[in-house]
Amino acid sequence: MKKKYRLIEPYIWILPSCVLMALFIALPIGMVFRMAFSQVTRAGIVKGFTGFDNFIAATGKPAFKIVLWNTVVWTVVVVVVSTVVGFILALLLNNEFRGRKIARAIVVFPWATTLVIQASVWNFIINTDYGTLNTLLKKLGIISTNINWTPTPGAYFAWECFVGIFVTIPFVTFCVLSGLQGIDESFYEAATADGANYWQKLFHITIPLVRPQLTVSTVLNIIYVFNSFPIIWTMSKGDPANRTDTLVTYLYKLAFYNGKQGQAAAISVIGFLILLVCASVYMVFTLRGQKER
């Protein structure tokens, strides 16, 4: 009896966690798949199986191409730029200087602030008529008349990318910093003795040694940025005419504004599959890391 209990005991310990994830993650995943392959009425009632009809309808629209391209640009630009800038910031903060603690605390700010508020503030800052960016530049004497910062949808999208980068940098910085602080000083001393210059040390010691942290932050950021909804939703709602939409804002509009839940579910499934590929890559990386341990 006791032996039997010991066998099932671990499963009792993980049960609450499993139930929670099953009900609120696995079940919605199943529901999204079911709706993607079914006819769904405007009121959201799921009717019969329709095969790939929803996928064909959703991906056949001209808007879909724009949205897909925007999603790629959004994800790549935000992740690449914030990784590079975040890395540089981490190198700076890894030096010992007066006020370092304060600087670190300041870098936390964008990470801790909810995205909807960040996006609102930037929307206010770049406003043409009363935005404070124009006010600031005028006071500094750089411009004399107000500049329209968002003349085209592309310009708006670029600002959204900027805000995305702004809020993503701290995560990269702190991940890299945690790696930098684990590097043994003797590596650098030895390299200096061998006559290595700053750049040689950076590329041959620093970057290889923080590679694990960089990998984690990059892969997680790809997922977060791909899924990021509040920035674009708050700043432009994807308008005009889907020119600033990404997959998540597009599917949100389809589902909750246009009453096309079946098509929205189809796009969810596409997004889900893209993320699954990312997840698999991530798994391969982490499992490799485990073997090396």
Partner: protein
Amino acid sequence: MKNTGKKALTGKKLVLRILLYIAVIAFCVVILYPYFIMFTSALKSRAEIYSINGTLLPIKWRWSNLIDIWRKAPMLNYFLNSIIIALGSTAIAMVCGIPAAYALTRMKFKGQNVFLGIVIVSQMFAPVVLVIGIYKIMMTFHLVNSLLGLILVNAAFNQAFTVWLLRGTFDAISPEMEKAARIDGCGRVQSMFKVLLPIAAPGIVTTLIFVFINAWNEYTIALTLISDDVVKPLTVGINIFNGYNMVEWQYLFAASLFSIIPVIILFIGIEKNLASGLAAGGVKG
């Protein structure tokens, strides 16, 4: 690479030091700029906000804005809802996450890696991709427009981080003390509460605060599930000032200040532990 800064600086080193300060200050100024704008604009009058000849600082500091928002909108409601959601999500995430992390680090069982794999993969799916499914499920459970619904979704989507961070924490603690306690007649549960959890307290606090902040800042699911003003959290509620015709920026920002300041303070407290925890968890797998 590290300068101690104690030695007398000369020539090239001095130049580097100055450049370092300039770079750090430049970063900090850019990062603080939107917060500066939020703060100063929160204290302007509407006329000043919309003025074409704007000023950087308010001409007249209207501290009354900070009080007005509590009368112009059900801010107290939003605030309390945010607290309830954040606390509830944290509690459920921990109650489910601690035993799971314990089992992963202190027991051996079939399917251990499968469970860990599911936890890692679940992290990949932000609620927004599944938002239609979540909405449907919540309709079935009658949890639309309910705080409990939001709490459960938040707790579920934070399960990955919770298990992840706690596993890292528990892993770093030797099981010897617990074994000793169990030889002395403690049960598993007792040894966990009496020995492991007190030692793991710093890691647990980090995890707890992180989940709290995530739930506090959550926007998308709240936007979708909540339409009733009585149960709106701050992130959704403050958009009451974001009217269709006119945005009351000064109130929006005043309300935002109340929403972000507590969280920033909490976050600064855990920043160091959190980053190393996340990165280490990922490196270890």
